[in-house]
Symmetry: C3
Subunit: 153 residues, 3 copies
Amino acid sequence: MTPEDLVAIEEIRQLKARYFHCMDRKRWDEWEECFCEDVVVDTTQEGTPILHGRKAFRDFLEPVLEGVKTVHHGHTSEIALTGPDTATGTWAMEDNLWWPESKGGMTLWGTGFYLEAYRRGDDGRWRIQELKLRRIRTEVNGKQTFPAATDAG
Amino acid sequence: MTPEDLVAIEEIRQLKARYFHCMDRKRWDEWEECFCEDVVVDTTQEGTPILHGRKAFRDFLEPVLEGVKTVHHGHTSEIALTGPDTATGTWAMEDNLWWPESKGGMTLWGTGFYLEAYRRGDDGRWRIQELKLRRIRTEVNGKQTFPAATDAG
Amino acid sequence: MTPEDLVAIEEIRQLKARYFHCMDRKRWDEWEECFCEDVVVDTTQEGTPILHGRKAFRDFLEPVLEGVKTVHHGHTSEIALTGPDTATGTWAMEDNLWWPESKGGMTLWGTGFYLEAYRRGDDGRWRIQELKLRRIRTEVNGKQTFPAATDAG
């Protein structure tokens, strides 16, 4: 690892920070900019299909979270540069969601890992190229839902 | 971003770490050193007035937290250098407070953001110059209090 | 602090990230590699004796956590280099553990600090040389257990 590598690692960490902060502050335009156009999103553990492209991800997520208060926190990250413009990362995570009464008043709490890949574009900016979410535990309305076994690989 | 910028960013991150750790370990002298003498503290969302100066902040906070167990955690930070000796930062946060029975036994849980500015002094040390706390959700004794709407801007 | 120091600090942060992630994913071989062979582990606040050596730590912990879902999160870290190949660190932490029904179905939630020392080996890799865990609050099955007073020093 060289001092120059640290610049890339820092930019990736701030990218992921922006992803979290923009989602919870519902700054969707800035949030969308965190992803490569061709990002692949795998939250299939939650029953959703694999999504291709940042537009598809936003079209899916923004209406789902309308009126929902969300808190997404990311912890200790392992970032590895895999080429001059590519990297991988593992982040521990925890989230809390509160649906409004008008949408059923559900609460969700979960923890797990983001397993990700990043790519630096021609404009010099890092973006998320692959996002895979694997939870260790999820509770809906205070009751454990899935997964039954530790499955964060 | 240059390797030299990273030194400033790291010093600011460790400054904020010290802020959190000293508060929860009640090391108030070291905690006070985290702030510029003329720090502006805006926790007005919680009903307190804007505080001017680190002495005023400590005079306010230390007695409030006497005997109270506190846990303040900071997450993913966006740090931007805005000049040779100035910077801004956004941190996600979560806190837990437990008042002793003698003070009513209240509990508080909250999450939100610190929106901050930093300044490097003549002694070369970074300190917090502005601290603004905006919560997404607060619960007192397990019941949601404020704010009603997502308001973390 | 120099740009070169930042490389060491980053390697130590990623070491601790690996420690957390491997524990919760039960990757024990990789987890064991996070420690110096002669690591000293002090979790005596939880009633366990001081453990000497990474083999003793793994022999103790791996069977205790078999079948237990665990989530360990580390937050804001103060890392100080104390020599060319030595460092100290303070991390805020939070953990959640869920025992399976077959083992009693207990839950544990806690927060506190890791107070640590690190050493760089002849192979150039940083490892944890001392690990001391001091909690601010622990709840078993939702009830506070220990410690009664704020004791995170």
